[in-house]
Symmetry: C2
Subunit: 390 residues, 2 copies
Amino acid sequence: MHQFMALVDKVHTRRQHGAHQAMHAHSGRVQAMSHPERNAMVTSEDVARLAGVSQATVSRTFSGSARVSDAARAKVEAAAATLGYEPDAAAQSLVRSTSKTIALSGAFGHDQALLSLLTRPDLYFYIGVLRALQTRATDVGYDLLMPSRPERPDSSSYVRRLRSRKVAGVITLGAPEEAQRQALLESAIPTVFIDAVGSGPKATYVSSDNVDGARQAVRHLLELGHRRIARIAVPEAVLPGRDRIAGARAALAERGVTEDPRLVIASDWTPEGAYDATVTLLNSGVQFTAVVAESDIEAFAVIRALTDQGLRVPEDVSVIGFDDLDLCTLMRPALTTVHQDVDQIGAKAVETLLQIIEQDSAPGPVEIPAHVVVRDSTAPPPSMSGLRPR
Amino acid sequence: MHQFMALVDKVHTRRQHGAHQAMHAHSGRVQAMSHPERNAMVTSEDVARLAGVSQATVSRTFSGSARVSDAARAKVEAAAATLGYEPDAAAQSLVRSTSKTIALSGAFGHDQALLSLLTRPDLYFYIGVLRALQTRATDVGYDLLMPSRPERPDSSSYVRRLRSRKVAGVITLGAPEEAQRQALLESAIPTVFIDAVGSGPKATYVSSDNVDGARQAVRHLLELGHRRIARIAVPEAVLPGRDRIAGARAALAERGVTEDPRLVIASDWTPEGAYDATVTLLNSGVQFTAVVAESDIEAFAVIRALTDQGLRVPEDVSVIGFDDLDLCTLMRPALTTVHQDVDQIGAKAVETLLQIIEQDSAPGPVEIPAHVVVRDSTAPPPSMSGLRPR
DNA sequence: TTGAAAGCGGTACCAT
DNA sequence: ATGGTACCGCTTTCAA
């Protein structure tokens, strides 16, 4: 017990250049004993003193790797437990030049925060990925950091900031700005891009198998008998966009169906865009019996546009989405869609990043299987003559 | 230029105990010059050398508060710019015992990551709050941290971890575990609870004005002529639950309508629960012409349950939600709901936290106004005789 | 195996 | 106003 008191005294004495320590001696003592964790941090030196070993030994005990005698280790652990010792993360990262922190990318560019970069349909999808990321990161003892943007939002100050924060690696969601992507690639900071291409000695990317997902979606419609399949096209510039186009075409090719370019309506990956695209399609007079959307949210918008025009889903037109949000079953009709495994995507992203960090070399791109989930928004096409848009 | 070369040499020399520095001298030099930010960090000492001042002066220049001559400041800033200097965050937090970091709470308890703690209806709402939090945090130069859970998930190690990370404050979303809430309250770590009660010398809370929001919702229904209003009740244990009950009752009381307890169905704040509650309600045979849900997602589920039973919304039954997600306008019918101002909630949370941090005392609870947004899911009740549940 | 000591990159007090 | 210097708490040689 006397050790404990001595310790408490010490805690309250240091840093006070001989000032009013006597004044607060009593109250300080009482407080410290009832809530040891409430006051100034417990340091490895405090633990060393209580355990009767050197501070270096305490450090070794917690670093794990170093060799410490069982006797010493036991004493240290006991002391650490009674004092409620937790190593100072700041001191550790200062000396180690790294920390168990993964930065989530997006706080780059102009006034863009990570979550603001994601447009709404993305948002609902990526929130699932984000949850998986956090779950897995927490499993492996890493914190997630969403850094604030630097004042000068150029790529080098972006990287400098990450370095200043001593992040172990970076995970980006969706399409990053090109300058940021380049900066990351050149930075030698371990990076995993989700849904964007990026390869390098310390970088790779993970995404759903979008080619196969889109292929399955179109195949499903073809199997139901659809031939005139419209697509709300997502920008080709982004990875999922490119791959899904390829997948859709592959499925069409399998059946020898040639794609009618008039059935491919460009959109901006927003519900509003999808709504307008659907209206455009209807107004064009080109016949179609099914619509492929690139996200569930867009699919909802397509359905809304269709029903607003008096068409029924799936009796008149089938609609298929992409993502498989929880919401799909709540909609009426329940949405047939391509399931993306957000848990796997998030988990793999973290695992891959750790691999880069630890093994110092990046593996190739990772693709997570996706699959169609059939619900109520798709059905065989009506007899062709039965469909008269507008 | 010679200064630059000297600096580069120094960067590559230190820490290498006289080993193979000659070997890599050339390549190292070239690399360092084309990508100065790529190698070992630029320190304040490097800047001092180039600027021809002491390291202390560089520190003062960047700390802002201290007095530095204009001449010195200019030289330092020039040097810092050419070298691409950014203060080391770890070193700063080590010596300052704080950092510009706000922890988002949730990584506490069992295997609960922040985002996993939120049930799905919450999730869609809180993601908006999260976005606002990040936007505002980034404005004021704070990073957001989602800490991984400590191995021993008790409240004191939770607080210790936050301290070890040197977070400036904590913001919690939704209902935290009681032990965590207490720990935070006792910790003297500045804290803002969103949607949970928590007051102390360094803690306060912010939420929508749930009482008024619920009152407006019920008022809206009453004004349409509804008298038999059912409610999918949220747990009373949580702040929004309590306040909304109070608000709903207040509105009823204003019109002298007495609440029929059979119209209040407890649910668990999930879409499945809301669906089941609606079915239960219908099966009970108790008449009603409107349903108040506690979230938009639940409202969707209610509508789905109603329509699955052959009832029309709003012709047979009116439904009103809470939150005003972007999705509301995509649904059919578009959802009448109570708008929560997520941007304000997030912004206020950050601002209030900063106030606690800087002024060292917590203000009272903050309430953000909410208001009804009328869309298509509410209408005057059908003639009473017209309604026959089932 | 263990302890002593030299930093890691800043901050802030001291004296000049 | 500026430079010198003593830490912040921890990791990692180096010697013992």
